[in-house]
Symmetry: C2
Subunit: 336 residues, 2 copies
């Protein structure tokens, strides 16, 4: 049963298509009798507007694009992204927008996705999650004046609208927390170099060390990826150093869990001999043994701000504040 069009409604009501459109849009300049005639026909036969035609005409699609800079496999594993996506779906939905999601790690396919979503006018705006420090698309997006919002950071210009965690402050807080627990050799197990989150947390870590007068050692910093496996291997290596760390700040809970595994495998007591703290306060932090201290990121706030910001950009084309920072919170559990 194909959907009726305004034209068919018009014929059935014996009015013009324009009148049907006016009735539907609540235009006051339409005679009450005709209005009733049209409404009763619609009531009887049903009518749903064609979104494609509407968006061709109105230049609006009512859809936001979400591009996550991770491979689908990483996406599947990391609860942070699923929570973020879920929250964005929620807020976009509340504001009457749909959401088109894509994920891609390879630069090339990301490029294609941008073209696809944006230039083809499939979406009204874009939310980009954690682009990397050298991201070649940003200048083009800016130049084209296309509405987009970052979750994360972009350094080269401050013309970009973005929301970010206070990663530097949070990492500093976490490190200071470890220092207060009398740890002086503190390791940082990170994700890849060049990813803002990792670099920022590294900075916060360094700041805390410096403020406490601890000499930072590059031996205690391990760059890698966001996997449990990396956490395990990096921590294993660190623990076999002649002068091993007594505490570790992980860039991510998944990485922290891997580190935890390495520590337990060597039968070091947690937190007495080695303290571990992660990032994101993932649900599973409560379930691991011992429960993992972590930095809680306010995912819903990130999603909320990013979505609102983007929609304001789309609908009004102007927003005063460009950068938003969402504070994080230390969640202390038994691992520290």
């Amino acid at each position: 049963m194909p959907e009726l069009t305004q034209n068919q409604i018009a014929k059935l009501s014996q009015v013009s298509q324009a009148t049907v459109s006016r009735v539907l849009r609540g235009d006051p300049r339409v005679n009450e009798e005709l209005r009733q005639r049209v409404l009763s026909v619609i009531e009887k036969h049903g009518y749903v507007p064609d979104a494609r035609a509407q968006s061709l005409r109105s230049q609006r699609t009512g859809t936001l694009g979400l591009v996550v800079h991770r491979s689908p496999k990483q996406l599947a594993r990391d609860p942070f992204f699923s929570a973020l996506i879920a929250a964005i779906i929620e807020f976009a939905g509340k504001a009457g927008y749909h959401l088109c999601v894509d994920a891609a790690r390879a630069v090339q396919s990301r490029q294609a996705i941008y073209e696809e979503l944006l230039r083809t006018r499939r979406v009204d705006g874009l939310i980009l999650v954690e682009p990397q420090t050298q991201d070649e698309r940003m200048p083009r997006l800016l130049e084209e004046g296309f509405p987009f919002v970052l979750i994360g950071r972009y350094e080269p210009t401050d013309a970009v609208y973005s929301v970010d965690n206070d990663n530097i402050g949070a990492a500093r807080t976490a490190t200071e927390h470890l220092i207060r627990k009398a740890h002086y050799r503190i390791a940082y197990v990170s994700g890849p170099r060049g990813v803002f989150v990792c670099e920022d947390r590294y900075q916060g870590y360094r700041q805390a060390l410096e403020r406490a007068g601890i000499e930072p050692s590059s031996d205690l910093v391990a760059w890698g990826d966001f996997s449990e496996e990396h956490g395990y291997r990096a921590m294993s290596r660190l623990l076999s150093l002649p002068n091993p760390p007594t505490a570790v700040l992980a860039v991510d809970d998944l990485v922290a869990v891997g580190a935890l595994r390495a520590v337990k495998e060597r039968c070091r007591a947690v937190p007495q001999q080695v303290a571990v703290i992660g990032f994101n306060d993932s649900p599973f932090c409560n379930y691991v043994e011992p429960p993992l201290s972590s930095i809680a990121v306010d995912i819903r706030a990130l999603a909320q701000i990013a979505t609102d910001l983007l929609i304001r950009l789309i609908e009004e084309r102007e927003v005063h504040q460009r950068r938003y920072i969402v504070p994080c919170q230390l969640v202390e559990r038994s691992s520290t």
Copy 2:
């Protein structure tokens, strides 16, 4: 810098818009000289087709809809759904489709989403994840002949295309596994009644008991939701029975983790005194203490089959096999 249209390209090339369209679509009936002229103009100024206009014209949007029957909050928490969504994004992308995701638990808003996505022709087809046993929209979708695929099951008619885990078989396998470990009082901590997954797993559980000649007891079955909290509370209650269970099959890893917490809180040894097994083989199964046995669901296979099936339905309107069953696999760890 607004995107150029075929019309503008046509003017610049001094040909008609129809010719530009023909060149772009590779129509052979166009003079080589004109073709070159058009191509060089496009090369110089750039051209990206307008997806809205194309879909209005072609009746295809190149987008699939995904509707998950869970609240965004549950979505955020449960790694099963994030993995599923990620996999569907991946396969849809590979097939050249975009993905529009929505989630809603309330029946009413689900209704609205169906209307929105489907009747407005925003998507070419729909993937519905785990609808409930009494789902009032299925008949309407069928009647309208709209392409859609279920991940899960729908009983009232077998005219529906669907992919599902072998939930009955898997729950039977899990329960038999517990029986082999010499457990005779086995509890089943479930999600809500009326949700197919829960009902099917319940059936498998009962089958295993019956085959082993164990009298099933409704005291040992706890219906609830998919939360860790429910697992904890239900298991606490079960353990304080005069004749408590020595093993528990949980409908979900999250629920299993809650049950595990209840067991450990009472200082019962796992798996010696109480064995626990979950469902989904979530990443965190490895990290909890003790590592949680679970039934691994082949999420990527589910996603792959559902996506392929839907795309075939959209593009060819006919598929032979209607129901697909994906086998599950027991993953034995220390909790059993």
